[in-house]
Amino acid sequence: MKTDTPRAGRRFRADGVTKLLFFSLFAALVLLPLFRMLTNLSRESFDKVFGSPVIGEILQNSLLSALAGTVISVLIAYLLALAMQRTAIRGKAFFSVILVLPMLIPSVSHGMGLILLFGNNGILTRLLGLSSGIYGFPGIVCGSVLYAFPVAFIMLSDILRYEDGAPYEAATVLGIPRARQFFRISLPFLARPLVSVFFAAFTMILTDYGVPLMVGGRYKTLAIVMYQEVIGQLHFGEGSVYGLILLLPAVLAFLVDLFNRGAGNSAFVTRPPEPSRRPAPRILASFFVIAVSLFTLLPVVSFIILGFAENYPTDLSFSLVNSLVITALTAALGTALGFFTSYLTARSRSPLSSLLHLVAITAMAVPGLVLGLSYVLLYKASAVYGTLVILIMVNTAHFIASPYLMMYNSFCKLNGNLEAVGETLGVGRVRMLFDVFLPQSAPTLLEMFSYFFVNSMMTISAVSFLANASTKPISLMINQFEAQMQLENAAVVSLLILLVNLALKGAVALLKPSFLKKRRQKTF
């Protein structure tokens, strides 16, 4: 924008300065730590990692288990999304809650659920008198599927919800058989989004150390090796190398998604295909949904059985309070940061906006473990190290991308002339932000808060290298109990996290309608 008049110039500068300020904030939260980790890479560490006789095996293990877990997760997720979106099965509301329950507990809990059920002393192993074969590859794949399929399911449900039904109707009228319709209509429509979903699930599984920690046994993957190098042996150099290896596919996934996002959006109003009411697909779909629901509920049931079977000397209230403080502050600060940043990027366009937008979503490309290690390296000597502050910082950075995008999209949908109206009415930008933009964003703000809260409550990745005895959040107690072979305690912790997150989700579900009622649908 040209700025000849002094006033416009001043306004323009203020806008630029604010954006630079936010940019530096994101630089401190994401870019600088990452940069620090990359500068920590040394020839010596590379030699150690790649000179190790087991590196080939580790890479192969990671790739195989992540690939298997991803394929199964995406397949289950697609079938689930089809069942929920394209057939008229009963109890959709109920299942849509059950199917995303796994997203409310840490990955390590999924692994633990498998141990409790199928491990050497597992409930089902003993009940059925089997010998356990869960440790290693099958366990990692199983646990990873539990961990990743709900995310893929939500993504695919969203995609199917916006698929247009018209081509199917036309095809049916023309007498084109179902199978052909799938290959000629469904697949081409799905192809690009499916790539995004696939990459997202793959990175999630590849960079997770929680499941392998529990059920991996001697089957080592990259993430678990990185975790053990840093936590167990304080080998930051080798940790950085592993971090770099994990960063690569995550960055690739990020780029693929960035590329796909722009392409997939069509502005047309579409009506999805009518859900099938024929009995055969309905029954089939019901069975499938019930089966997957049981699969997701089993570990939770095992926590309950084990958790209430014995007494606990361990007092968990200390780490629970830690967690609640970290979580509440991350959610509040993260939501505020996301709100203001997206206002700057979505509501006043400039080259700086694009830069700020990019840095705000960059965190999506950084796996939690990598971010955690980067924070250790950059902030080791600083005053925030070893306090709750750094845990809040790392969680905010780790989870900011999605909530930021939620708000960004919602700001983009608001009328483009609002700022101009404010200017002509003599209402300042800040005033407009609080009187007009903030009230209209209430439902989105609530969603952002909930996203930050749930994820900070259950995360074990970025925080694992940064927490100490006095700042440890409750999710990391699972790791500790695992190391001490106290699975009952770990089960209680998992249950506790689930309950807190469920309570928050419930509160959000209750609050949301009252926010939405305030902005009814447009009626012309």
Binding site: T5, P6, N417, L418, F524
Partner: protein, 261 residues
């Protein structure tokens, strides 16, 4: 308009603006008279929206001067120009009621909040919106939303109101009804109105004078009658013919359906 009591309200002198090397406005000069209804007519990309944004102060011109009552307002803030604007999609505050929308800016500038609300209520009553006072914009029809948008600027007592294609989101019947209301409003308040549109029928029906723009320049600025009788060039002639065609259409409609206008 009575030719005898024309006073110049707004005056542009050599106003220009380029966008990325392309001229969006090439040294445009014209006067707007007090109490006049002036339409700016032209296809998209002719510079009319740029001109409007420069007039209200949302966009600084590269060169030239803008005078309001002889006072230079070229670099004044939008809120210091005593002008109001009604946008194409109205940009109402969706989180506020109709009354709050209209009272909001007024209440912000005064200590007398109750007075501001009363003033807003009066203005809405004048616009025939009393029944809708407690509703949210999303509950209103397009025409009602436009009335709220007009009331929102009117309540600040502007000397000039600018309209940025305010009818384009509405259906034909609503358009014709609102057109009449707008004309009546202008007669009653005597406020100078500048109306940007690409609809020649609308421009000719509403305006005291029409300004036709093409390629960042003014092609002709005159009364609808003069333009119809003496189009400046072929480009304007097509506009006039289109307008005639529309007139014939509406007469046909009247003959067929007994519909007026």
């Amino acid at each position: 308009m009575d030719a005898l009591k024309k006073t110049v309200k707004l005056s542009l002198r050599g106003v220009s603006r380029t966008y990325g090397g392309r001229a969006a406005l090439e040294s445009v000069s014209f006067d707007v008279y007090e109490g006049e209804f002036l339409s700016i007519l032209g296809p998209s990309g002719c510079g009319k929206t740029t001109l409007l944004r420069i007039l209200i102060g949302l966009l600084p011109p590269d060169g030239g001067r803008i005078l309001l009552d002889g006072r230079d307002i070229t670099s004044a803030r939008p809120s210091e120009r005593n002008m109001g604007i009604v946008f194409q999609n109205y940009a109402l505050f969706e989180n506020m009621t109709v009354l709050q929308n209209v009272a909001y800016a007024l209440a912000l500038h005064t200590k007398d909040k109750r007075g501001a609300r009363e003033e807003a209520r009066r203005m809405l009553a004048y616009m025939g919106m009393e029944e809708q006072i407690g509703k949210k914009p999303a509950e209103l029809s397009g025409g009602q939303q436009q009335r709220v948008a007009i009331a929102r600027t009117l309540v600040l007592k502007p000397e000039i109101i600018l309209f940025d294609e305010p009818m384009s989101a509405l259906d034909v019947d609503t358009r014709i009804a609102l057109r009449r209301e707008l004309k009546k409003l202008q007669r009653e308040t005597g406020i100078t109105m500048i109306y940007v549109t690409h609809d020649q029928e609308e421009a000719f029906a509403l305006s005291d004078r029409v300004m036709i723009m093409e390629n960042a320049r003014i092609v002709q600025l005159d009364t609808p009658e003069e333009i119809s009788l003496h189009p400046a060039n072929d480009y304007v002639r097509t506009f006039v013919l289109d307008n005639l065609r529309a007139k014939v259409e509406s007469i046909r409609r009247f003959v067929r359906d007994g519909d007026e206008d």
